[in-house]
Symmetry: C2
Subunit: 512 residues, 2 copies
């Protein structure tokens, strides 16, 4: 069962539709308001839209103590982690403000008229990106702030010019409500239409699924952002595809994030230290990261044995931290039971269970890489596969499903490792959205070059990222204007370039 908000909100700006009795009518009210807000909101100038995103960040910061307290209470995540998440959330909003102000995402292209071209004159053609329309965002359980109400999907959709309707995650209703209130205060402060942002909560799980379906099938919703389970994501993808007008769904779902340790890495590094880093990444946040390193390829032989003894000892020494919800802890218990009872799987180590909903970390070994061993177990469960020769790795990795990340540990001074890494990279880059070297996948930098995405089932759409500035491109599409009179042309594509945009003139990038 879902927890209820711990106290009744005293102030409820009109653009929040929040309550435990949300039903279809509330969904329609929110999507109707979003549709009504769309023309004015998408017409904001870069300066106005950036100011709004910064006002959202300011409003969250103004209420950060209450927001952080609610998130800690509801998620059972440590205070330090939640404090970091507040900063990441506001940092993302400010980054998108910078992106919007710069305006490169408008991708202006101008092919000027060629009236004298033979055999046919060429028309004047100009291109820019326009926002898709109202976007539905489903926040994640495991990042109650940075991937939730005003998280990456909301920030990038608002940055693109799309109104947003958030379905609050039932695992953190109070934190969601407080953040939604902050967003709505910023909407009011900046004089934007109330429907620019709405927030919905549902009373229990069944209602929540219905509200989600109602939202995704509402004809006024034009795109969907989701972070959560594979069944949940696939249900939304199917619902969106079955609409009379199908719409894009960006669902981040499932990843076991393979890590390959090459022999040179074991030879050149302290095995116990490397194993300690691995286990720290594995149990971080009770293993509740989309990028949790669930699968490790380790060389056979004494150095690998030494690494594994140290890893097993480290896992044995851990104490389970409380998971986000009772349901997630139960799913972890089911997943690890399945894993341990799979033929060929041998338990290497088990940590101590903590208090309520705080199950023990698990480390297992297998030789056979097939489902269910390759299914994501959300939590601190690691699978180890030993290999004799780096050449065995390519077919093993090729059989895996799509991943958010793939990692290689190597000794850059060992020719054999470099050679192996160069062989693995073409396989890994087709399998994952991000390939890391000599690091651990947990922790996703928010920047311009980041990709948090990847082939199915890591996400439902690999052409995109949910973290970093490129995410704005999910929520827009190109439009061409042919021979448009100057008096009618949108600012972004006018000759005098009033917004000072980078433009591609006849295919050539031209700085403002």
């Amino acid at each position: 069962m879902t927890e209820q908000p711990t106290e009744q909100p005293t102030e409820q700006p009109r653009s929040i539709v929040a309550g435990v009795e949300t039903d279809g009518a509330d969904v329609a009210a929110a999507t109707g308001a979003a549709t009504a807000a769309f023309p004015a909101y998408r017409s904001t100038t870069p300066v106005e839209r950036a100011a709004f995103l910064e006002a959202v960040a300011d409003a969250i910061e103004a209420d950060r103590d209450a927001i952080a307290a609610a998130a800690v209470a509801e998620s059972h995540l440590p205070e330090g982690r939640i404090a970091g998440e507040v900063g990441r959330t506001t940092g993302q909003l400010r980054m998108f403000a910078d992106v919007v102000r710069r305006g490169d995402h408008l991708h202006v292209r101008i092919d000027p008229a060629l009236p004298d071209r033979q055999p046919l004159a060429r028309a004047d053609i100009r291109q820019r990106q326009v926002p898709l329309g109202p976007v539905a965002v489903f926040g994640a359980s495991n990042f109650p702030l940075a991937f939730s109400t005003a998280g990456g999907d909301t920030a990038s959709a608002l940055a693109a010019g799309c109104p947003v309707v958030v379905k609050g995650h039932p695992a953190h209703p109070r934190a969601g409500y407080l953040v939604a209130r902050a967003v709505s205060l910023a909407v009011e402060k900046q004089g934007l239409p109330a429907g620019t942002f709405s927030f919905l909560l549902a009373g229990d799980k069944q209602d929540g699924i219905q509200v989600g379906q109602d939202l995704v099938t509402d004809p006024r919703i034009k795109a969907v952002g989701f972070t959560g389970s594979r069944p949940g994501g696939l249900a939304l993808v199917a619902a969106a595809a079955a609409r009379p007008e199908p719409i894009p769904v960006y669902a981040e779902m499932s990843s076991i994030n393979p890590v390959v340790v090459l022999p040179g890495a074991l030879a050149s590094r302290d095995r116990a230290e490397l194993a300690g880093e691995y286990v720290a990444s594995l149990v971080l946040g009770a293993g509740q990261f989309c990028t949790n390193p669930g699968l490790l390829f380790l060389p056979a032989g004494p150095a690998g044995d030494e690494f594994l003894r140290a890893a097993a000892a480290a896992v044995t020494g851990t104490t389970g931290a409380p998971m986000l919800t009772a349901g997630i802890a139960e799913a972890y218990a089911r997943g690890t039971r399945t894993l341990r009872s799979t033929p060929g799987v041998r338990v290497l180590a088990e940590g101590r269970a903590g208090g309520e909903h705080s199950p023990a970390a698990q480390l297992v070994e297998t030789e056979e890489l097939a489902a269910p061993v390759t299914d994501e177990v959300f939590g601190a469960a690691g699978v180890v596969v030993r290999y004799r020769d780096a050449r065995e790795l390519v077919p093993q990795l090729e059989r895996l499903e799509g991943q958010l990340t793939a990692t290689v540990h190597l000794d850059v001074d060992a020719a054999a490792d470099t050679e192996a890494a160069r062989t693995l990279l073409p396989v890994l880059e087709l399998k994952a959205g991000r390939v890391l070297f000599n690091g651990w996948p947990t922790g996703v930098e928010v920047g311009h070059a980041m990709v948090h995405g990847g082939p199915f089932p890591a996400t439902s759409d690999p052409r995109s990222t949910s973290v970093g500035s490129l995410a704005i491109e999910r929520f827009q599409r190109p439009v061409a204007y042919q021979d448009a009179p100057a008096s009618v042309l949108p600012e972004a594509v006018r000759d005098d370039n009033p917004w000072g945009l980078l433009r591609r003139i006849d295919g050539e990038v031209t700085l403002p």
Copy 2:
């Protein structure tokens, strides 16, 4: 029934799988070869890949007489039109060669490491685009060259680094085969793997549908390009969505391309001349353009009446040209019968029928804009709607489905027209991929700023275009490299920038 190739090919390079008995085994042979070719083909340098695209254009030009003759014979389109299409096809290939050589589509982003950042160091993160994998292309009936075997989808997929498997259109098997032979000769000449390009033909319609399904559901295919009917496109979209690993489908399907004539345009221009331009666009190529102006909004009143009398006279004076296939002519006959028997629809004019499969052009008027009047009739059938006030247009246009194009005719010196156009533009740009002014939608310029796409059902994915250089982006996705050693980094993201690429460093565009 489909026509058979008019003579047996004497020379068949090994990468063409062509024959009237194509079945599942041939599909598997082609997709298997494409998968085998992918690692080498995607590893070609910009210079190598551009040379290949130019070699394809050269090979088509070397056989242009035979190709054009086959296309004319099979499509019944005039020689001049087909000659233009040969030029457009080779021009597209050469444009993509330039795009590949420049390399901007790789969208390189580098966020350098910040080892001293507090509280956490930042890793070095670099991003580039990688090709999705083997692409299935379904050519269009109405552009036997420019939208077919080596048309826009094939050219953009090859440019992105994806091997291509073409399912040849049964309406022009011989032209398709000859073009496929030219592509395969270029593949051989450039020393690329044979599976870089394959071509499949099926014996009859039922087999063709099966081959198409087999192709789209083959797990080795990673994206699909299609131009054709709405039922055909939707069937491929559904098949792709139902795969264990869903893949993107770019299906261009259905559009009636609304044209709005504003009062000032009628007042300032010769009505008969304007009407003549409209009818010329309507009957061009027997109306068999995706951008055919199927719906015209015309002011009520004497000037509109005058335009309409001239348009009716012009339609009456036309003689039907042979349509692409008997099936298409039959579908046109069914569509126009449905249109004329719809309550409220009044026939304004009818042309003369020509010879076989050469039905008469039709012009009708209605007051009620709803299906079936708003369904595409592929061919020279125009629907006219009269309006009293430009303000009536917004709700009418908002009710339309997504379109490839929308057009406004206005007098740029008339304040009321400009005001009306500024009111209409926000509606039209959300409804269509291209908005034209004082022109006609038939004829799509191939360039950097063009968008040939649009919201559903114009296409199945509005985030893209099938014409112009932006089309390369359909077939790639971003990958991030974190802390990759210099010895392992792909050329595109190396510090020394060996390909001389434009890069975004810490978010700032940096010219090479």
